[in-house]
Each structure stands twice: as structure tokens, then as C-alpha cells.
């Protein structure tokens, strides 16, 4: 790990002003569970590290009936996983949190850091000067691409590694982002960027911008939500494919819903067609099979990852079926 100057800002303004124009020069540290790995592998070698954990008051969860949930960006994943209101009112979020990494990492990793983590592509993490690191080639195109994206890719084919981001997009969360002296609201759907827009970054944050908190609206009592993650190992593994769903029922039929996929795209992937078709649907096995024919129709799998398509469809069907049974 390269050496660097360590900063401990006391206010957001102070923190924001510590950043220069480039992420390479100065980077933000929250829990550090991703950043330290990147720095040990020399993927990132900043000259300055700004410890956001020195900012007071950003690690709180507050739930107000009727108003919804607010989670400070520095709240640990473990705290979210065990929070009683989140387990009761937003199971999708608690279930995602419980499946992040390992107990030790959940104790330290923060929700802000989790949604800002860098991809796990083995070319990006390895000794390859790939597109995302400023090179000319995405090595996954002709290389080993079993775990890469099947939709939304090009010219780089990473998948976004975050479990929490998938759940937050299904919940249509809003982020408060500190930017140049004031706070702005960013819908989570506008936070992540695809490689075609910016091949070097996974989200819209500019140096000096800081995620402050995450807000989630109140869900009504007819709403069910859940998260299912398929990974090759039960612990310390990233989703091969994951699904988050938030579905509102109306008698035997469904009123509306949001279905989001993880592990299929360079950003958490809102399944627009499936989500739309949930409105008015009677969730029988036959009907679910029928709508799944329209899922991921624009996918363009690489040589080794076509298996993600039936996997994603089966996981969506299973989760929607369980939530609406």
C-alpha cells in the first residue's frame, strides 16, 4: 500500500474542500473494507485519504411511521441487518444486508461505502491496464467472462457488486449528496452510471461530493419485499445474480411492483418490463412464466455467461411467487 496523508475533517464542508479535481489525488475513506483492498493491490494509490468517519452524526438510522426511513451513510451494514424497524418494514433491505460479505466486514463496512464500492472484475482487480483503469481494452470481451454482465455493458463489461444498491433501487431510495456547500437529492436510479457514459466510474459522484444519507419512503401495509442472492459461496462472495422486489398487493391481484436485478449489469438493473407487467397480474405460476418471457430481452450475453439469463428469470419468478403467495 502506498503511503498518503491522512485527513480527519470535522464538517462536510471541510471534507468537501479537501478534494481536488481528481479521484487519483484524493479519495474518501468510510469503512475501508473495499478501499484497503484496492490500495493493497495498487489499483488505487491516492496521495490523500479523507476519513469520513470523523464526521459526526452520519451513522444513525431513524424510522418515523408515515414518513419513512433515513439511514446515515456511515451506518454499518451490520446495524442495518439487525435493525428492528428495517426488518419489519423493509425486509428487502435487511435481507440484502444480512447477505453482504462476512460478519466481520458487515461490522465495519458502511452503506455509503457499499453503494460506492468498485467492481470485482478480475481484470480490473488484477494486473491488467483495462479500460476502467485508463487503458484501451476490456479484457473480459475475449477473456474469461463467466461473471461479467449480460446487459448494459460496453465498452466495459463489469457487474456492479453491491447487494444494498439492488435493494435500494427496488425501494426507489433517495440519496442526499453533499456538493459544493449544499445538499442535493439524487434518486438512486440516477446515481449509477453505465460504462457507455463513463467507463472510469460507477456513479455520478465528483471529487468532493459525499453521500450523506439515504431516504426511503414509507411502504403501505399491503407491500411485500424481499431479496434473493445466488452466489457460489454463502459468505464473502458477490452475487452471480440477485433480485430485489417490492410488490404491492390488491386482493388476489398485484397493484404494482419494482423488480431489480444485481449481477447482470454494470449498475443495479431495474427490470422495467417485468415491473410494469406486475400491475394487475394474478401471480399464478403460469402467469409468472408468461411474463418472464419478456425479461432481459435486450440482453447480449458474452461467451461464458448466458447461464445468467435463466438464472435471473428463475430467481425473479421464485421471489415474486414467494412474496405474493
Amino acid at each position: 500500500m502506498n503511503n498518503f496523508t491522512y485527513f480527519q475533517p470535522k464538517t462536510l464542508q471541510e471534507a468537501g474542500e479537501m478534494f481536488g479535481k481528481s479521484w487519483h489525488e484524493t479519495t474518501a475513506l468510510a469503512g475501508g473494507t473495499d478501499l484497503l483492498g484496492l490500495m493493497k493491490d495498487d489499483i488505487e494509490a491516492p496521495r490523500n485519504v479523507v476519513n469520513l468517519k470523523s464526521l459526526p452524526g452520519l451513522n444513525r438510522i431513524s424510522y418515523q411511521p408515515g414518513k419513512g426511513l433515513k439511514i446515515g451513510a456511515l451506518t454499518s451494514i451490520a446495524k442495518i441487518a439487525s435493525h428492528s424497524d428495517i426488518n419489519k418494514r423493509y425486509p428487502v433491505l435487511a435481507q440484502a444486508a444480512k447477505q453482504v460479505a462476512s460478519p466481520q466486514l458487515r461490522n465495519v463496512g458502511t452503506i455509503g461505502g457499499n453503494i460506492c464500492q468498485r467492481p470485482r472484475c478480475w481484470y480490473f482487480r488484477g494486473d491488467f491496464h483495462c479500460l476502467r483503469k485508463g487503458g484501451d481494452i476490456c479484457y473480459a470481451v475475449d477473456g474469461k467472462n463467466k461473471y461479467h454482465c449480460v446487459i448494459g455493458g460496453g465498452p466495459c463489461f463489469i457487474v456492479h457488486p453491491s447487494d444494498m444498491a439492488v435493494a435500494l433501487l427496488a425501494l426507489d431510495a433517495k440519496l442526499t449528496v453533499y456538493s459544493g456547500g449544499k445538499n442535493k437529492t439524487v434518486a438512486i436510479g440516477d446515481f449509477f452510471v453505465l460504462p457507455e457514459k463513463n467507463v472510469r466510474r460507477e456513479n455520478i459522484l465528483l471529487p468532493g461530493e459525499i453521500v450523506v444519507d439515504i431516504r426511503i419512503q414509507e411502504l403501505n401495509n399491503n407491500t411485500k419485499s424481499g431479496y434473493v442472492k445466488f452466489a457460489e459461496r454463502g459468505v464473502w462472495d458477490f452475487a452471480v445474480v440477485s433480485v430485489a422486489a417490492v410488490i404491492q398487493k390488491n386482493g388476489n391481484a398485484l397493484k404494482k411492483g419494482r423488480v431489480v436485478l444485481g449481477g447482470v449489469a454494470p449498475a443495479p438493473w431495474f427490470e422495467k418490463k417485468i415491473s410494469k407487467k406486475l400491475s394487475g397480474l394474478i401471480p399464478s405460476e403460469k402467469n409468472l412464466d408468461e411474463i418472464m418471457k419478456t425479461a432481459l430481452v435486450d440482453a447480449e450475453p458474452l461467451a461464458m455467461n448466458e447461464y445468467k439469463l435463466p438464472l435471473a428469470k428463475n430467481l425473479m419468478k421464485r421471489l415474486i411467487g414467494e412474496l405474493t403467495a
Binding site: M1, N2, N3, F4, T5, Y6, Q8, L29, G32, T33, L36, G37, M39, K40, V49, N51, K53, A78, A101, S102, P103, Q104, L105, N107, V108, G234, V235, W236
Partner: protein
């Protein structure tokens, strides 16, 4: 680069250490304080060999920057002994032959210690979840789970 003075309470002993920003808590424990019970394994938070208790929670000390640990209360495997006697968890690991090569043992003990602080008499599933971030490459998990379960049943959690 400027060094930073940090204060740590490790196994109830106070330390003031001058650290370089890019040192980890693991570096400090092993190389400055001589507490080599905590093991250096994968260095990326996957194996759990470096697990210590920090402010009551199990953490991977390889992924904590030393300056971020400033002011915290740390317990390492060396802090388990009581007046020269093995901690009940250590004794139980011996009784159950739960130590094979021994490399994962300090980390396992730390995860088990936190579990028993938080939950009396945990279930087998609860034990497996608590040590899910600790790899035993000798694959001696069954004895480890039984050793922890035994201590839980007897209620010897301190």
C-alpha cells in the same frame, strides 16, 4: 508522510503508538506491540485469521487503517487468558480437538468470544453464522462448532 499518534487500549493495556497512515491495525498489533497471536492471512478480509474484537465487535484487523483505530478498545487472543488460566473457550477448543494446524484458531476464538458475549447458548446455526467469516483450511469446522456450543451450554461467557 506525517506519522500520526494513536492511542489504543489493547487487552486492557494502554498504548500510544506513532503510526504511518498506511499501516493497518494488524501491522501495529503484530509488529509494534508484539502481539503475534493475531495472524496475517489473506490480507483482504476473506480468511478471518486476523480477527480481533474492536469496541465489542469482531473485525478484520487487516482492513482497518491504524489511524482509524485511534481511541478504540481492542481485544486479541492474548487477552483471553485469565490469571494464567485458559479461557473456557480455549479449554473447550483443546477438549474438542478443535485446533488442527492452529492458524485459524485465534480468529475463530475472537469470533466465538463476541458471539457468546451477545448470545447465551447459541444454536448450531447461530455458531456457524458467527464464524462464517473465519476459514479453517484444515476443514475442522465440526469440532470448532462443538467446542463453541459446549461453552455456550455451560454459560461460561466471560
Amino acid at each position: 508522510m506525517k506519522t500520526i499518534k494513536i492511542q489504543l487500549l489493547v487487552n486492557n493495556n494502554e498504548y500510544e503508538v506513532s503510526v504511518s497512515p498506511n499501516e493497518t491495525l494488524l501491522d501495529i498489533l503484530r509488529e509494534r506491540l508484539g502481539l503475534t497471536g493475531t495472524k496475517r492471512g489473506c490480507e483482504i478480509g476473506e480468511c478471518g485469521a486476523c480477527t480481533v474484537v474492536m469496541n465489542g465487535e469482531a473485525v478484520n484487523s487487516c482492513l482497518i487503517l491504524a489511524p482509524q483505530a485511534d481511541g478504540s478498545k481492542i481485544m486479541t487472543v492474548e487477552g483471553l487468558m485469565r490469571n494464567g488460566e485458559y479461557h473456557p473457550l480455549q479449554q473447550s477448543f483443546l477438549n474438542h480437538d478443535a485446533v488442527h494446524c492452529g492458524f485459524c484458531t485465534p480468529g475463530m476464538l475472537m469470533s466465538a468470544y463476541v458471539l457468546l458475549q451477545q448470545k447465551q447458548n447459541p444454536t448450531e446455526t447461530g455458531i456457524k453464522q458467527a464464524i462464517a467469516g473465519n476459514l479453517c483450511r484444515c476443514t475442522g469446522y465440526q469440532q470448532i462448532v462443538e467446542a463453541i456450543g459446549d461453552v455456550g451450554k455451560k454459560g461460561e461467557t466471560d
